[in-house]
């Protein structure tokens, strides 16, 4: 009798403790961390906006914290291409090494005004009173809005950049500063949120002390940006693997100049005679970085071959410099195909446990371009089964079938799709494939059988 009562009491206290623990951890996770110092450097030199955020965080509660949450306004979150985080290890300034941290989108309850969140998982949970320094890089695309929206050939391109002088965060920020790096010294206007200082090519907002969570102060900077606004609307890369020793890549590009639209006439005379004054925001060259040992490179479009291109290769990389048939001004488009072949042994490997995998790089080879929609189709040889791909960031995967040379059952195609791709996405990914060795002989046997039947037919030829 007494034992059952004491067990009941023990059960109740346990339940009460669990409940209080849950409520504490759920309700006050945003009060757990305090940002001691935040420094944000926004690089506006190209049309891809790179933001480097250095956070020094402190755990002010007793429970250990295992994640730090980053907040983004919903308009900015739509244009977010990449969020990366790393933590410095080592106390000596010169011998710092960095460890990559996982960043995942997350949701918090009571998110004001549709704020989007990303959570950084710390390597070691932060105990009470401990501080940590994190470095975050996030990349925004299509965030520079051209204003005026239409310019003539001889005008310079001016764009709006809208952000907040105060870093949006679910935590209390003790001290923060934001630096904006502009491509030139010409800034038409910027919103002043004191203290603000503009000198040379740097605009400094801050330092601001003791701001509550979710404080936001919108600013607009109207600056000159003549860097090439090269955007590839659609890129289709076909990677055909042949076990006879070659990988053939065909890339279909739909390139557009996404800056201020060109209005009026295009005068070739003015363009060529005064290059520093006319067409300052246009571009006519594009650089593609290809792997070394590339062969049979071609660059053509619907009309035919485009001969204005140069290929320079060394033992580490090849560079293909292409020049479309016309320079690209705002709103102008160019559609072309680039194709090349690569040796199989650089990319296809067999692991000790017998599986074969393809080590290839995701992303667009063109430098400083944003790809709105990227599709990679890996065409595997006939007879490959169950392909899968391991990519460091989320992509959509599906399978298709393609009929090509000497095919009977068709080739499996692994299709990877991703939207909003920037050059920082150029990382190797691995495609795993199962493959049967009979594939080598089966093609020749098919050809041989056909020829044999021809001979058999010849038996019935009449002879004297």
């Amino acid at each position: 009798m007494a034992r059952s009562i004491s067990m009941e009491a023990a059960g109740l206290t346990l339940a009460f403790l669990i409940l209080t623990f849950l409520t504490i951890s759920a309700a006050s996770s945003t009060n757990q961390i305090q940002i001691l110092n935040a420094e944000r450097r926004i690089d506006l030199s190209s049309h891809i906006v790179k933001v480097f955020l250095t956070l020094k965080v402190e755990n002010v509660m007793t429970a250990p914290a295992s994640e730090i949450v980053l907040a983004f306004p919903p308009a900015q979150a739509d244009h977010l291409a990449l969020v990366k985080a790393q933590a410095a290890i080592g106390k000596k300034k010169k011998k710092k090494s960095y460890v990559h941290l996982d960043v995942n989108p997350t949701e918090l309850r009571d998110a004001p005004n549709g704020t989007k969140y990303f959570s950084i998982s710390l390597l070691n949970p932060l105990s009470s009173g401990e501080t940590a320094t994190l470095e975050v890089l996030y990349i925004l695309t299509h965030s520079l809005k051209p204003f005026p929206a239409e310019i003539s050939q001889s005008e310079s391109q001016l764009v709006y950049f809208r952000d907040s002088a105060l870093i949006l965060s679910p935590y209390h920020v003790k001290q923060q500063t934001t630096f904006l790096k502009t491509p030139s010294t010409k800034v038409e206007s910027f919103t002043r949120v004191e203290p603000t200082k503009f000198a040379g090519r740097e605009l400094k907002y801050g330092p601001y002390e003791d701001r509550p969570p979710y404080s936001f102060s919108p600013v607009t900077v109207h600056l000159e940006n003549n860097s090439p606004f090269a955007v590839v609307e659609e890129l289709l890369r076909e990677v055909e693997i042949s076990h006879w020793g070659n990988i053939q890549i065909t890339e279909h590009y739909k390139l557009v100049h996404a800056g201020a639209r060109h209005k009026g006439v295009f005068s070739r005379v003015e363009y060529q005679s005064r290059p520093s004054f006319s067409g300052t925001s246009s571009f006519k060259h594009l650089l593609a970085s290809l792997p070394p040992r590339v062969h049979s490179v071609y660059y053509r479009d619907d009309i035919g071959n485009i001969s204005s291109s140069h290929l320079r290769s060394d033992y580490r990389k090849s560079e293909l410099e292409i020049e479309p048939r016309y320079p690209l001004f705002g709103g102008w488009k160019a559609t072309f195909v680039i194709g090349y072949g690569l040796p199989l042994e650089d990319f296809l490997f067999e692991s000790p446990d017998g599986k074969r995998y393809l080590n290839f790089s995701f992303g667009c080879p063109l430098a400083e371009t944003v790809v709105d929609k990227l599709t990679i189709k890996v065409v595997l040889p006939e007879g490959s089964k169950d392909p899968s791909a391991a990519v460091p960031f989320p992509v959509e995967q599906r399978l298709e079938t393609k009929y090509s040379y000497l095919d009977v059952v068709g080739r499996t195609v692994l299709v990877l799709e991703k939207k909003n791709v920037v050059p920082e996405h150029i990382t190797p990914f691995q495609g795993l494939l199962h493959f049967q060795t009979y594939i080598y002989a089966s093609r020749t046997i098919d050809v041989g059988i056909c020829i044999f039947l021809v001979f058999r037919g010849l038996f019935s030829l009449p002879t004297q």
Binding site: W244, Y405, T444
Partner: protein, 75 residues
Amino acid sequence: MAAAITSPVPVAWYPTLAILMLAVGLIVTASFFIYEATSSRRNRSLAKELTTGALASFFLGFGTLFLLLASGVYV
């Protein structure tokens, strides 16, 4: 850690192999036709026809495969 996968036949051999195999195949084909032309209906041996035909098909089959590979159609 991982072994690179290459083709079972060295790629530099593709043109040479194509020409050799096609040449041998065409010679055997010629021998088949000569046999057909010179023998009369009663003396013809089915076994000899079949072996010559099979041998010619084998060499011509491989020869066309290597010809396709040598010309860049990596099948």
